[in-house]
Point group: C2
Chain length 751, copies 2
Amino acid sequence: MASSEDIVLSAVLNLLSAFAFLVAFAILRLQPINDRVYFSKWYLKGIRASPRSSGTFVKKIVNLDCRAYIRFLNWMPAALRMPEPELIDHAGLDSAVYIRIYLLGLKIFVPLALLSFAVLVPVNWSGKSLEQTEGLTFSTIDKLSISNVPDASKKFWAHLVMAYVVTFWTCYILYKEYNIITTMRLQFLASENRRPDQFTVLVRNVPPDPDESVSEHVEHFFCVNHPDHYLTHQVVYNANNLAKLVEKKKSYKNWLTYYQTKYERNPKIKPKTKTGVWGLWGKTVDAIDYYTTEIEKLSKEETIEREKVMSDPKAIVPAAFVSFKSRWGAAVCAQTQQSSNPTIWLTQWAPEPRDVYWNNLSIPFVELNVRKLLMTVAFFFLTFFFMIPIAFVQSLASIDGIENKLPVLRPLIQMEVVKSFIQGVLPGIVLKIFLVLLPMILMAMSKIEGYTSLSSLDRRSATKYHFFILVNVFLGSIITGAAFEQLQRFVDEPPSEIPKTVGVAMPLKATFFITYIMVDGWAGIAAEILRLVPFVMFHLKNTFLVKTDQDREQATDPGSLNFSVSEPRIQLYFLLGLVYSVVTPILLPFIIVFFAFSYMVFRHQIINVYDQKYESGASFWPDVHRRILTGLVISQLLLLGLLSTKNIAKSTPVMIALPVLTIWFHIFCKGRYESAFVKFPLQDAMVKDTLERATEPTLNLKAYLKDAYVHPVFKGVELDRPSAVDDEENNPLVPTKRSRRSSKSHSEEGV
Amino acid sequence: MASSEDIVLSAVLNLLSAFAFLVAFAILRLQPINDRVYFSKWYLKGIRASPRSSGTFVKKIVNLDCRAYIRFLNWMPAALRMPEPELIDHAGLDSAVYIRIYLLGLKIFVPLALLSFAVLVPVNWSGKSLEQTEGLTFSTIDKLSISNVPDASKKFWAHLVMAYVVTFWTCYILYKEYNIITTMRLQFLASENRRPDQFTVLVRNVPPDPDESVSEHVEHFFCVNHPDHYLTHQVVYNANNLAKLVEKKKSYKNWLTYYQTKYERNPKIKPKTKTGVWGLWGKTVDAIDYYTTEIEKLSKEETIEREKVMSDPKAIVPAAFVSFKSRWGAAVCAQTQQSSNPTIWLTQWAPEPRDVYWNNLSIPFVELNVRKLLMTVAFFFLTFFFMIPIAFVQSLASIDGIENKLPVLRPLIQMEVVKSFIQGVLPGIVLKIFLVLLPMILMAMSKIEGYTSLSSLDRRSATKYHFFILVNVFLGSIITGAAFEQLQRFVDEPPSEIPKTVGVAMPLKATFFITYIMVDGWAGIAAEILRLVPFVMFHLKNTFLVKTDQDREQATDPGSLNFSVSEPRIQLYFLLGLVYSVVTPILLPFIIVFFAFSYMVFRHQIINVYDQKYESGASFWPDVHRRILTGLVISQLLLLGLLSTKNIAKSTPVMIALPVLTIWFHIFCKGRYESAFVKFPLQDAMVKDTLERATEPTLNLKAYLKDAYVHPVFKGVELDRPSAVDDEENNPLVPTKRSRRSSKSHSEEGV
């Protein structure tokens, strides 16, 4: 067990590394040459110009102004200065709400920490149970935890009351926050400018028709069933191959530029390359010639493929983006069922154009279900078989494990500093390495499951990742980490005993999690702000590929909030905070530092660096809310298990009410707020429609929507579509007198 | 343990009692005086006239035609003769689909029984494990069950394969059936005549407005947000008090008629009554005078209350029935969210007028949530505290229990017949008595939960009742019934051991469940067809209250299918069949007899007797489907538990795939079919609208809908409003040609 000295050493180490990152960041960001790495958002917005345009050459690369270095931490107050409405304008609602998660952590845990320190720490300290048990080694931290209170003590009532306080306070803050976020979302949606997705519905599983093309079939169906509201539609081309070709061509062009630059700088040596994979083996050829011919070949292929996609009716997938004359019409279509067969004509709100995940638009209903089953089973195995390597490596990484398996190292390990290092830092790092590999796998699995927008893919991956972290990091660390004491007992015990087993092991793992918070949380966030990978990549590209300012624009990778990875990690800290707030309150300050530091760093990043890939209007909030409540229920169950071993009369019935109330609170909040995140009320749609009709009576909506939902590879290219196909004006389809009259009156109104 | 002789005796007893019921029924139904009890549906339809109108007096009461008695079982083929489409016309889709549940039971279990008898019974019989164990008493039935196969035998693979066959066959049949029912429902909805609920949406939680009445507020809101579709609306009066007064007056009128008849028959004695509760105590008064004055008083009160309700704005609850110009408009409004606050302006399809549960239309959102929480907790306690009396009474009802507690009875018990009776019949009856009390409590709980239609109340109560039966009848009988062997062990064991404990106890309880099927199933169904309670009530009323033919009409209680009680009971038989199909196949024939017999009886009843209270278009089917799958999963888990004690290598991984697949199948079916039962597709709405517009261009929909959703106490009363209320005959709307024709053809067939 790590002693409190280990913790102090680890804290110092991590603080030092975090500080080193911060200093490095403070210096690097002041250099003009790094400007595009650390202020990419401003470049994208066109507000900040390249510093090369003025001053001497040296000044363009290195900042020689000493005063700037003195104020090297002044980005922190600067990050906090921008008011929230401006932040939403500047970075979008997704980002603004995302950093509110950190703020939420502070709101929940600061008061709880104060209360815990005022009440529970003295109670635990005065327990003196550990001191009275002979032959037990324990640290100062253990003396401040619930382990120090003797069995059947009346003092446990303080913990029970505290559990109630934690539950009610968390729920209260969550309720208030849900309220605020809902209001923000509704205001955001109401104040938004006209956007194509407000008028558009994604229709999937268009049934095949022997007599009509997909486009005609869609048009006829919606003309008949939404006669007053249907405006136009956009078919979806299966351009996945084409997109691959475009991507490949771009990469070859980069290589060509690279070799050309090389050749220009050193005209004596003709650069060579090999034709095999990665240029590592195969025939050696002249690089510039090779890439030039390859690019020409690809260009031809691309043209052929492009023509094929445009002309072949089979390249049109059975899905379409259908647009309506009003937001009201789109809201109606998105929320209703079209056909009596619920597996065809599936409608849903169209994602933003840049949020569409084009590959998944054409999966049939049965296949979708089979894919989901397979991925569920695969995810189950992934989650539960990852346990084995973690347990194995962690057992190696303990002092005893190393001494047993590698007796050679014994003298080294006996040194105090090394020993502290191994015990304090190593288990956390082992865990961390495992976690880095995972998000890509989970995202690939979500893609196979068939979600149609990037935002839903992100949300879905986050759900998987959260479950994985819960099982493997949280439970895995508590149970398997303590495997030497508990594994045997645990195998023989049934699931109902899990709360007890975990609950009892929990206080013992507090020091491990404190270390983990420092390594993963503190140092990780500090590394985030340094942006090492984009930093290196930018300078590599800048050196070898950049010729024009436009190239430099493209070399900048502003990055974005990676919701699917970072949100589940925050949830781990919520979980740890809630679990240990009653058991080992000493852990709370570490969590609070994490939340405060993260809040500042991410606020800085979304203001200065990140460029969001899409805007979903904070539609992830219900997930965040649900996961925090999951953490709360877990904390209650574990405390229930822990207390049930302490011989306190009636603790179980008192504690069992808490999860019941929490789950009810979840259902209540779901009913009260969730629909604001998945539906679009008709009242609001009508208000916006009416307003728009009054302010812009001459708007040509059809022209506005014409190419909104075109696959990105066609963007900018002339789409020689047969124009008559979706020209509704010339089409005498619309069947009934009434609807034709009203559609005329609409068009007269100029919608 | 009951021996096979006990079973045979019990079977004979139950067959005899069932036969006695049937003979009684066969005789009673032929007496003209009972005609209204056994053919009430035909009277309600106006096709069958009172037999009093012709023939001699005796002939009107007793059937003297001997030939009729010879064919006393000929109602059975008659019941099966009516083809299904006609049945739907005659009795409604709800009833027609309800009896298909029994048919589904036959479809599932007949092939499974044949297969089990061909494969598993020989395998079990040749096991010879029981004979080789010394000191064990066992019956012939046990020799045919899985208990007879020795541990670790290869023969268990037959059972594993059979478990797969059961799962796939059940799922296949369920899938086909869901398909059929969905088609039937869609056809039914499509072919339906115009009905008010097709155009109407129930709007609840209308927010208060300081400047407008509820009616004005509703009108303005829908005029603005559904401008092209809104037609009219009907506010809801809080007429619960008035309804109570009307009810009370009716009961007093009945008593008055009773005493008047009594006085007429015996004019010498003036009838007296007492003023207290039930006329049992209090001051003795002249009965006729007393009731006459009471009725006068009530009439005055009723008039005052009626005026108050009509004039007081506070008597209008914040809910309304909003009608639209087209089915399309109503479908849109019912499926979309109206306001950005999801707790106000809640819309849902209006139930049929006779299906509305008026008391629950005005419950605020938060109160609704609190009610649901309280009822969930209450239901939990109800379910799990009922266990105690059952266990206690059943322990008394065993031979050992009685001998120990009442040694006086020992000589009686020693008699073979008595012993067999106690062991074979008593436990079933004990259970049955408990079950009779329950449905009313559950229905009251569902009403408190705030459902707004009778059909949803029925469905909700059925869900509760099903869970109750599962825990208390099924698990309770298996575990507590075997409590003397297992209770102690069970208390010390955790939930994960439940499949094992129950699985092991399961084969031992087969004989008990066979008895139960005979008592509850066979004899219960035979009692159902006799209709003892309505029979007695009718003759009492006929003697004391009936003066005119209209009175006699009212005295007839046709009854109806009580979905909330009978469906969960069928589910118990499905569960037993699925659980024992692999373990003790000998149980299957008993279940098959139950399903076949029930099918015939209920088909007869819905043709000749029952009058359905509402028509929900088989919207209960998803529940039925889900519960059968629940039973399937339970059977798989129990078999898993049982096999895991038999030392068969790899049985657990083979078995665990089954529940996973079953749950996936459930999710698949839910996605594929469920929306047909909860939503109304726009395409279908549009088709019906277009058709109607073409065939009846002059239809005055507003007049048609005017009073469709008026509280029943206002029905028939002059509602200071134009009449034309719901007189279907005068209304040129109802194109009942087809249904009237087919019901005529029925009576010609003489069913």
